[in-house]
């Protein structure tokens, strides 16, 4: 049968964000694929070189609106190493709480976006109903629902407001009941399992070769999490486990990638509770924060989607000389020809949705 190229995107319900997936099909079967980027390029790195170090937290917030705190944290973490700033312990605890709340909101956002991909629009409403709880929580200290600008170089903007711990505990309790509802609604649902079981398979070996990180790698059963393996903030003092899941020996499918995110949300709940238990009193911002920096710094953190890396070079002025952002989704998306091959055209939304694409950070 004759092969042909089909262009999915840039305006297509499958593409979360603006990008094109060109697929070569033989009948219904995918033979080849070619992802194309560049529709959402805003030259964030160049814009950052024209602004002072502390102003760039507003840009990093806008890298990914579903997970803005983790990106801002990656940036401040790098700049703190460049400027040799000591972050107070209480600020580190507050940061960890904010990061985990953001991870919960981001995973819920992903799950809510994934369900309509599978034709399950009701699922989107259930997940987004609960995402709202965490957005309300994140709004309390930062004053904004999506773009928080809360984590600053040298600490956080302000201390947690009164009654934040009780409110968080109430919402976490409610959320744990909701997690049981999800297992009733989705994990055992025949329709959901038919769309996700044994679809979009890749092995742990392949994932490491492609540079796939984060929940997509842990979905293959590999225990790798930068919060444990290249630890930062106070993650090593907190009692938590890396959540992994595999569909079979050493490989993942869409369902295991869904499950690993659900398990990660349970772990995030654990981390937040432990943080509140161990949080000391004290300052929330370093007393001395330099404005000029010389040298170079490189850090990587565990974003909601994988390994976020940043590299900043300072030439002694108050603006970065060079700023490089490495997005985990860029490598994961680039590998899509390998794990799309052999599946049917109708599986593309299920496979590409399951890796949690965010074009804002990929295209920058």
């Amino acid at each position: 049968m004759a092969e042909m190229w089909i262009s999915m995107g840039p305006q297509h319900p499958m593409t979360h964000g603006l990008w094109t997936l060109k697929v070569k099909v033989d009948g219904e079967t995918i033979v080849d694929a070619d992802p194309e980027l560049g529709y959402l390029h805003r030259s964030v790195e160049k814009m950052g070189e024209r602004r002072k170090y502390f102003m760039n937290t507003t840009l990093t917030d806008r890298l990914c609106y579903a997970s803005s705190t983790t990106w801002t944290h990656c940036y401040t973490h790098t700049v703190e190493e460049l400027m040799e700033v000591e972050v107070p312990v209480r600020a580190q605890y507050i940061r960890t709480i904010m990061l985990e709340l953001q991870r919960l909101a981001s995973h819920l956002m992903w799950a809510g976006a994934y369900m309509p991909d599978l034709g399950h629009i009701t699922g989107a409403l259930y997940f987004w109903r609960d995402r709202e709880l965490f957005l309300n929580l994140l709004e309390l200290p930062s004053g904004s629902r999506l773009l928080y600008n809360f984590i600053r170089i040298g600490g956080v903007k302000r201390d947690l407001p009164n009654g934040f711990e009780e409110k968080t505990e109430r919402i976490l309790k409610l959320f744990e009941q909701r997690l049981d509802e999800y297992s009733d609604l989705f994990e055992n649902s025949k329709i959901f399992r038919m769309r996700t079981d044994d679809v979009g398979k890749f092995t742990a070996e392949q994932a490491k070769n492609f540079g796939i990180t984060g929940p997509n790698l842990r979905g293959c059963g590999t225990k790798f999490d930068l919060r444990k393996h290249d630890t930062y903030e106070i993650y090593e003092e907190i009692d938590w486990d890396i959540s992994t899941r595999e569909a079979g020996p050493g490989y993942s499918d869409c369902f295991s990638r869904y499950m690993v995110r659900i398990d990660e949300m349970k772990e995030s709940v654990r981390i937040i509770r432990d943080c509140f238990k161990k949080m000391p009193a004290g300052a929330t911002l370093a007393s001395r924060i330099p404005v000029r920096a010389h040298g170079e710094a490189f850090r990587r953190t565990e974003d909601s989607r994988g390994e976020a890396m940043m590299y900043v070079v300072g030439d002694g002025s108050d603006r970065p000389y060079r700023w490089k952002i490495k997005s985990p989704m860029f490598t994961t998306m680039s590998a899509c020809p390998h794990y799309l091959k052999g599946y049917k055209l109708a599986d593309i939304p299920a496979i590409m949705g399951s890796i949690d694409i965010c074009i804002g950070e990929t295209d920058k």
Binding site: R51, K52, F54, M55, N56, T58, L59, Y126, R129, E139, L140, P141, S142, G143, S144, L147, N149, K157, R158, P161, E181, S183, D184, L185, E187, N188, S189, K190, R193, F255, M259, R288, I289, P290, V291, R292
Partner: protein, 258 residues
């Protein structure tokens, strides 16, 4: 693990129906999730970042808010102050009296992203953010708010100490200083005084005389770098606070008293 066994009738039909019915009764007979917007409003948290307001008598016109704005949507514009306002002006009153027109911040809300940096870096606490968010307008010019439209008058002013959030202070490089005292005229906190320089200078004409140099009171310097910008001889530069306070050009305790 629940995902490894074969789903039975309970899993496929009964449990999902339980969840659906629970949500159905909750959303049909319970409290509505949404807010009937124009009639009722959601309570924003106390930290909410909405439209800006300027506490009029606290503003000293230093321009730090415009300096730290990442979008450059905030510009300092000349503003006519009445005599009463000049008297009430807390710290920058000397500047308001000296210059014919004082400068106050004007914001283009069409460009503003409500990051809150202007509020955080304001050295006197004059720039604040309110919980007002209904800023839509029919034309672009309507989105440019002059300072007077954001004016807020407070009965009793909070007497906050001046804080240097910029973490930098000016340092004099005495050699090229021509003693014009422009920095003194433009300093918003009046923290600069002119005094005799460290040594005599030889002029072009061959005469030797002492040129007056600026001295900074770093306890009230806010790091706005206005003096660096207005200096015609390029003899000032900004340095981190710890460096500048150890530099040799600061008058010590005895000379300040004198």
């Amino acid at each position: 693990m629940s995902n490894e066994r074969e789903p039975g009738l309970m899993d496929i039909f009964v449990n999902p129906m339980k969840v659906t019915l629970k949500q159905f009764f909750k959303s049909t007979f319970g409290k509505p999730t949404t807010v009937m917007y124009p009639l009722e409003r959601r309570d924003p948290p106390p930290t909410y970042r909405g439209m800006n307001a300027v506490i009029w008598d606290l503003c000293i016109g230093c321009g730090i808010c415009g300096e730290v704005c990442p979008n450059k949507c905030l510009k300092m514009k000349p503003e006519d102050l009445s005599e009463q306002e000049k008297d009430r002006a807390w710290y920058g009153s000397h500047l308001a009296k000296r210059k014919s027109k004082a400068e106050r911040p004007a914001i283009n809300f069409g460009h503003c992203m409500f990051c809150g940096f202007c509020e955080d870096y304001c050295p006197t606490g004059a720039m604040t953010m309110t919980d007002f968010y209904e800023l839509a307008d029919t034309n672009r010019e309507g989105l440019i708010y002059p300072a007077r439209s954001m004016k807020v008058e407070l009965e009793d002013l909070p007497q906050l100490p001046l804080t240097n959030y910029m973490m930098e202070s000016p340092v004099l490089d005495a050699d090229p200083c021509i003693g014009c005292s422009k920095c003194v005229d433009n300093c918003p906190t009046n923290c600069i005084i002119m005094d005799l320089g460290p040594q005599n200078k030889t002029m072009k004409s061959g005469k030797t005389r002492n040129v007056e140099n600026p001295y900074f009171d770093y306890t009230i310097c806010i790091g706005c770098s206005t003096c660096v910008k207005v200096c015609p001889a390029d003899c000032l530069h900004m340095e981190p606070i710890s460096n500048s306070s150890s530099s040799g050009l600061i008058p010590d305790e005895t000379s300040q008293e004198a």
